[in-house]
């Protein structure tokens, strides 16, 4: 692959670089094991390991993923381009619209605006992991029932924002739903139906 990192000169003489030599994980490979993680070397005062490529592991939708990520790679890039989980969308790519919202350890985050290395060790949930087999998550079902979408491009982000909201607040008021979804933009403008869907899903979840 063309993405094998070059060794770069350290900017600080007291830093040392440790590049992972194993090469990048192929697209679509979700693997439990990649061979041995390089052992951190002991560091003296003022010394710090820095990586041009870092082996990270996290779970996505319950599956463990181990891969070597460049520090500049965003979580969204890793999800979409390397794990082929294209549910989360690239819309603004600046943390301004919520189209890439996923749950990181149960909290909503913008995957486009978080480095993959920041997700090291985390538990990530994307739209692909919401349903259990054929059974849709109540939030998904409610979006269908209430027509809580139009073009559907922002929908995965809204679904995760809604799931994140309902995990924190089982009985949200109308205003709490709005505030909870305030970080997501639906350019088709179907917010009113999205609220209705979230309200309906909350009801279903409460009833169990």
């Amino acid at each position: 692959m063309d993405s094998v990192p070059k060794k770069r000169k350290s900017v600080s003489r007291r830093a040392f670089i440790q590049s992972v030599s194993g090469g990048a994980v192929g697209a679509g490979v979700v693997s439990r094991l990649l061979g041995k993680e390089p052992r951190p070397r002991p560091t003296g005062p003022g010394e710090l390991e820095v990586f041009e490529k870092k082996r990270i592991s996290f779970t996505v939708n319950g599956r463990k993923v181990i891969l070597d990520a460049e520090p500049r790679e965003t979580l969204l890039q890793v999800l979409r381009e390397r794990l082929r989980l294209t549910g989360a969308k690239r819309v603004c790519n600046r943390g301004e619209c919520g189209g890439c919202t996923v749950l990181l350890n149960g909290r909503t985050v913008y995957a486009c605006h978080l480095l993959a290395v920041q997700a090291d060790g985390a538990d990530v949930l994307t739209v692909e992991g919401l349903a259990s087999g054929d059974k849709l998550h109540p939030v998904q079902q409610a979006f269908i029932d209430k027509d809580g979408y139009q073009c559907g491009f922002c929908t995965p982000g809204f679904l995760l924002a809604s799931v994140g909201l309902l995990a924190k607040n089982k009985q949200p008021t109308f205003d709490e739903i709005r505030a909870g979804l305030a970080g997501n933009i639906c350019r088709c403008g179907n917010y009113q139906k999205i609220y209705a869907a979230v309200g309906a899903a909350a009801e279903v979840l409460r009833r169990g």
């Binding site: 900017v11 600080s12 670089i17 560091t43 943390g95 301004e96 909503t108 480095l115 920041q118």
Partner: protein
């Protein structure tokens, strides 16, 4: 976006030691929500990014007899949801609750918020080399400036965008700053620097230093505070103007008051004249409006941002007026 090297320090001391040589290409990162934006836009090209979130034990809100200590890596969401903060420091709670969006509050940190860079659209466009980026002029001064400063501009008319900074200054909070040489404590009121001191940066950190903690003094029994932020749309917006107020009241009479405004100057802007004028007055909208009006005579608006003066008068008045409620 160029790649960079990434380090996860085991301790803040280790990070500080690494920053020791003062290399301008080494950046520390909290949640990274601001830094990543700067990297993506090509405004900075770090050689190394040090991830402070990797350091254990820096996210905390601890009460003690002196007040409350807030770890720099505390997320803004945790700050906004903390019941103790909500009870004792309304201004801080209200400011944290309206930062950006839920997703960014979940990632963004207190330290990062206090150190964020301006949002001026000329500054954020890598193609435009303004004073802040080593150029020879401020493009906003005679350009499009509806969101720009009405105080203390000159070399740079970008406003300081933080919501937490005005609130914490109103509360007389201090920043605990760590470097390889040790710790120092700086009142947040003295943490920010206007462009005339150094147009290239906004605070006193010297490139080797890290904000470690924020300390807020014990709230007095008769202390009231509030944060009011005016934004154009309903969410995910930086303040057009904002006002953080904290007063010590005797009944409804103001013994003393702090008024710190956001969105109106390159640094959080203290309205000292209005503070003076309000001493001994009732904490009412009318009194505050009168005080603000005369203090705002010092403003120097640009072609498109004169409305901010009118807005600020109202926002200050309403924030002060809400103290008694």
């Amino acid at each position: 976006m160029k790649n960079f090297q990434y380090g996860k320090p085991a301790s803040l001391e280790q990070a500080a030691a690494f920053l020791g040589p003062g290399d301008p290409n080494v950046f520390v990162m909290g949640g990274g929500t601001d830094l990543l934006g700067e990297i993506k836009e090509g405004l900075v090209e770090p050689a190394v990014v040090i991830d402070l979130k990797a350091v254990p034990g820096l996210a905390y809100i601890k009460k003690d007899k002196d007040g409350v200590a807030i770890g720099a890596l505390t997320t803004i969401a945790d700050l906004a949801e903390d019941p103790g903060i909500q009870k004792d420091y309304r201004v801080l709670h209200e400011a944290a609750a309206v930062v950006a969006s839920p997703q960014l509050r979940n990632v963004g940190t207190v330290g990062g918020n206090l150190c964020q860079r301006p949002r001026c659209w000329y500054y954020r466009d890598a193609r435009i080399v303004c004073n802040k980026k080593g150029g020879v002029k401020c493009y906003a001064e005679k350009g499009r400036n509806k969101y720009h400063a009405v105080f203390a501009g000159g070399l740079c008319w970008a406003v300081y965008p933080s919501d937490l900074a005005p609130a914490l200054i109103a509360l007389d909070a201090k920043a605990v700053i760590l470097s390889a040489k040790g710790e120092r404590t700086v009142p947040l009121a003295e943490f920010y620097m206007p462009p005339i001191v150094n147009v290239r940066k906004e605070n006193v950190l010297n490139g080797q230093e890290i904000v470690k903690e924020v300390r807020v003094p014990q709230a007095k029994a008769n202390e009231k505070s509030a944060y009011l932020k005016f934004i154009e749309r309903g969410s995910w917006d930086f303040a057009v103007v904002s006002a953080a107020v904290k007063a010590v009241l005797s009944g409804t009479t103001i013994e003393n008051i702090r008024i710190v405004c956001g969105g109106v100057a390159p640094v959080p802007w203290r309205m000292t004249k209005a503070e003076e004028a309000l001493k001994g007055r009732k904490a009412t909208e009318a009194a505050a409006r009168q005080a603000a009006k005369s203090a705002l005579k010092d403003a120097s608006p640009l072609a498109e941002n004169g409305y901010k003066i009118e807005l600020l008068e109202t926002i200050i008045a309403r924030a002060v007026g809400s103290l008694g409620k």
